[in-house]
Subunit: 340 residues, 2 copies
DNA sequence: CGCTCCCATGAGAGCGCTCTCATGAGATTC
DNA sequence: GAATCTCATGAGAGCGCTCTCATGGGAGCG
């Protein structure tokens, strides 16, 4: 191709060394900011670098250093869900922002099925990344175990179903958040409340149900009005319809995520129930859309940005050689809008 | 650290070669699927690989091959916008999905300001990626030019303001889409229509205004009712209020993106105008939220997924050595919901 | 004035892989 | 049966960088 036409090849360390009249080692020292270089030599090298437009080759560097200065963000999710739910998009962007200025690059890895999963394990072990961030894991996922055993620095987003000593994770206080939600309903005078729970094979789903039950029990009531959904809007709509037919008298509902809550709002509207007058609704996640529902959704805010940032920081210190610290659980808060 | 404790180092090509009783070159051939290897040797090597759990080192490979099998997705955007607008999240995820099975990795690069921009240019030139996907560029962006000149395969999402021969891009037919929107309003019998345009320094903003004007002119009317926003919901709300005060009689409005359209809906509601009875509203983008507004938003669907996929394919063929093809412009379509 | 010590610098050995080229055994040809 | 060809295989030279170790000149010491 045109590489030939341009004539000059890309400059290497040697080129710079020759231009500056020093050895390759010295140039390397200058680039890596070693203190044992005389100021004059340093200047000479830097000007040579500028003149040649030299840029270090990362592949060569990582081969020699045995590290890559990049981390992987691995997500496992069926396609449709990913696109409908802005959670992952936020995690991705927040992570990428947390990395700005660290010189560490973010590699995105999408593993949808098991085949891709095993290839992924190879990929990670091939030393292309220094560490791994795992987002949206399912409980049956073998990946955390694999990575842990392989000694690859790993941080999981959300609490893994099975506790693994030495695995670091950053969770959001799902139990506490759900408690907040239920308490809010109760504080608003609602007495015949119910919940639409998420999938119980995801810790977020299970924990939120637990928190709800705990708060209701603490108020001396029975938490026996439970319907289940799978975190999609449609399932929320359906679950709400079910609840309404089973408990026509209910006056408040905690929905385990905002997407389902939007479905619930629709079902309530279809059933002619006014929100919050007849039925108060509290969601969970505080996605962007929650501001724009009719009425705007009262919901539990998830510190997604904080979570991504914390995960990244944890991973970087782990890569830096620090021991694996305690898991971190971030607090949640209730955002009061119109629906409860 | 504990690397020492584990004893065995990670296996390399040499390890495998020794285990299989062949030379390094032969193992390399097997790994790269060269036909000039006898079946017996191939089996022996593969079983040795399995036994040792060997995984090729990517850094070494890319050093030797002068390519990295990874591409960068560069986005430039102020933080807040990124998070509010799911567009980027979709682009990211669609790109990552388009890459599944190609063996190419996605590196995410977030360049928010000029300083990061110049570092980015270095990064790309350091040969860490084989090509670059540019998302959400502003017109004043020097990056496309830089990359083009450096001979780095690049594909831009959206049409760059200034035409650059040899720069490949994938645009969405903004002019056509806006025409569709305006024609829809006119076909619905609306005669006193207006538009809320986006930033005119972004081609999407300018093109959508052009399309609107073209359709209105084609209908023999004047397109002189224009307010401007910056693609945020708040600006849409404000622009709508302005339009209402300037043209109290208007009965239809084309809003250049859904976020602003949501703001417009709110302003209309605040002004006591019924949608679509009093004022019909057509948005642009078909973001997820558009389904959930009250009433659901009639809007122009952007083929974001297609766009990302096309960009990726274009980039990969370019990296493969094919000449830079013609820019691609993807068609849009109108999605009729409740608002118009 | 001779000795040791310090520190800037250079030489050179890898890091793990690919690829060219040489080699030699077996197949093919007349 | 000798010459030619084919093709699997091996040897070895890089790819561009870091890092250890050797070197030698000048400062510091007695």
């Amino acid at each position: 191709m045109s590489e030939v036409t341009t004539g000059r090849r890309k400059p290497t360390l040697d080129t710079v060394a020759a231009e500056a009249g020093v050895s390759r080692a010295t140039v390397s020292r200058v680039i890596n900011g070693s203190p044992r270089v005389s100021p004059e030599v340093k200047d000479a090298v830097e000007s040579a670098i500028g003149r040649l437009g030299y840029v270090p080759n990362r592949a060569a560097r990582s081969l020699a250093m045995r590290r890559t200065d990049s981390i992987a963000l691995v997500m496992r999710e069926p396609d449709a869900t990913v696109l409908a739910d802005p959670y992952l998009g936020n995690i991705i962007i927040a992570t990428s922002q947390a990395l700005v200025g660290t010189g560490v690059q973010l590699v995105l890895v999408n593993a949808r099925n098991d085949a891709e999963h095993s290839r992924l394990a190879d990929y990670v072990r091939s030393g292309h990344v220094d560490g791994v961030l795992l987002a949206s894991m399912h409980d049956d996922d073998p990946l955390p175990r694999l990575l842990l055993d392989a000694g690859i620095p790993t941080v999981v987003g959300g609490r893994p179903q099975r506790h693994m000593p030495g695995l670091s994770y950053v969770d959001v206080d799902n139990v506490g958040g759900a408690q907040l939600a239920a308490e809010h309903l109760l504080a608003r005078g609602r007495r015949r409340i119910a919940t639409i729970a998420g999938p119980q094979d995801m810790t977020a789903g299970a924990d939120r149900l637990t928190g709800y039950q705990r708060a209701v029990a603490a108020a001396g009531r029975k938490a026996d009005r439970v319907a289940h959904g799978d975190f999609t809007r449609e399932s929320g709509e359906q679950a709400m319809a079910t609840l309404l037919s089973r408990h026509p008298d209910l006056d408040g509902v905690f929905v385990a995520n905002d997407l389902m809550a939007m479905g619930a709002l629709r079902a309530l509207r279809a059933a002619g129930r006014a929100v919050p007058a007849d039925v108060a609704v509290v969601g969970y996640d505080d996605i962007e859309m929650a501001r724009h529902t009719e009425p705007p959704l009262t919901t539990i805010h998830q510190p997604v940005i904080d979570q991504a940032r914390t995960m990244t920081e944890l991973l970087l210190t782990q890569i830096g050689g620090d021991p694996v610290g305690e898991p971190v659980v971030l607090p949640t808060e209730l955002v009061e809008r119109g629906s409860a």
